[in-house]
Symmetry: C2
Subunit: 319 residues, 2 copies
Amino acid sequence: MSYYLGIDFGGTALKIGITDENGTIQTKQSFETVKHNEPDKIATAIGKCALKVINECGIPQDRIKGAGIGAPGLLNPETGQLKFVTNLQILNGYYLTPAIEKIIKRPTFLDNDVNAMALGEFFYGAAKGYSHVIALTLGTGIGGGLILNGKLYHGASFTAGEIGHVSIDSNGLLCKCGNYGCIEQYANREGIVSRFRAYYIHKEMKSAIDRFLEDGEITPKSIALAAEAGDHLSKLVLTEVGTCLGVALASYVNALNPEIIVIGGGIANAGELILGPARNEMMKRAYTVPARAVKVVPAKLKNDAGIIGAASIAVNKLG
Amino acid sequence: MSYYLGIDFGGTALKIGITDENGTIQTKQSFETVKHNEPDKIATAIGKCALKVINECGIPQDRIKGAGIGAPGLLNPETGQLKFVTNLQILNGYYLTPAIEKIIKRPTFLDNDVNAMALGEFFYGAAKGYSHVIALTLGTGIGGGLILNGKLYHGASFTAGEIGHVSIDSNGLLCKCGNYGCIEQYANREGIVSRFRAYYIHKEMKSAIDRFLEDGEITPKSIALAAEAGDHLSKLVLTEVGTCLGVALASYVNALNPEIIVIGGGIANAGELILGPARNEMMKRAYTVPARAVKVVPAKLKNDAGIIGAASIAVNKLG
């Protein structure tokens, strides 16, 4: 049995684990993301955390074939250079992979977190056995990863898959990216909550949301819980969000003719409340042949998706 | 030197030619598309036309390595079966490739006409030397072909590339495909002429279009000619059309991060009058990294694009 190290390098936490050939987590540890003024020190800290996990795992050392790092932002997976790290811009331009490789003494590979998620679902999750996969994560933003002809697709400058920034309305909501009508604005965390607030607060529509608040806040999770309990407004909002998502899915389906669209991220926990309307709208709008050829399903990997995805970057390279 | 037969199987004409390894046409002939009640008879007629071109070309017979057929509609490039032929539905379900292969006694390959155009530009035209290519044809409809990682991308059921049916406005114009806001409706022949008419006839805006009519008709070509001659309304219309196209290009660029977008078809003859505004709008809307990585250029192959594209289907398979 071969094993792979997965380094899920998030904005606030560093999660490191080891998976086996079946994508099963053997061990994992969480660390705080190190904040330093020097990139080298950050890399050394990450490397030491990784080494700790390797040394404490109890797996014969030579069985751990390599490591994958899933990181947010722009990067170059071929050179292992970080280009733009949203929450840790001190690392912009830093060659992370060679630095980590030197410490853990194993082949190390870097890719962005959404591509990692796509690979995780492709090797071990909902997209296992498929060759043409679109992976989407719904959260604070909407990210995407494309697996085409059985291979992760990076594009010309490693930014392919930004399908959260496909516009569904050229005069629609202004997106943080500068474009208008990006699907991200309609189906991300803020888009869902804003839509709910517009009905609940400004239009004074009735809702039982107060029973489901998270720390006193209206959140996608609280809306989903209220919807599951039968709250009409919450159901309406999630249906509208799913319908918007379906408009984008139809464009993806027409353009790429995928076999499966895997939807993950926190918001995907609303499940069929969003996926049902999204699928319906996609079926109405996309061409019949590709619409019938595609499945729209929730991601299968949940809690450890980040680590398994990161390890999958190594699996993808080392086989 | 190797040679390839290209069969451009259009709705109204059948054009057959032979290209050399550089994509240069050596000979070509045009035939009327045969209308028969029996698919076999149609195939036999096409095969005989192809044989005529082969026999009359003066090229040593053994140097003609294979044939490509570019056809409109849905088809299966792996089996050579036509699935849905818009203008010749008697052929739906017919295995065209084996029938032609039997007559011309050379390996024969089928693909749709837009993929053929994409391959033609990839091997011999504007996209030569690029690995990540989006090809678009603007005409009665808008078709697309994708070359990703240096390979034509077909998707799960061979319909990938229908990027004319990416919606730029979920509540926009109703498209013939049943979706709303498809870019096709804004930048195809009818979309351009309708936009012109709306300003010229309904809003009574001034234009010198009358001097440029084609057979007394307002057409994209007449609008382009008027615009080139300085007609303000014609320029406005083409700028608006280009701007709409740019919205779609931004979505393609974000999703696929191509190196080059090649735009062909009759309407692309308007050149920078459409491409300029399209490029500007794309640059404004798409992420900076992929926007800077992509060129938006007119197709290079003009009159013989259909034949060269069809021959390229064979080049793609036979190398």
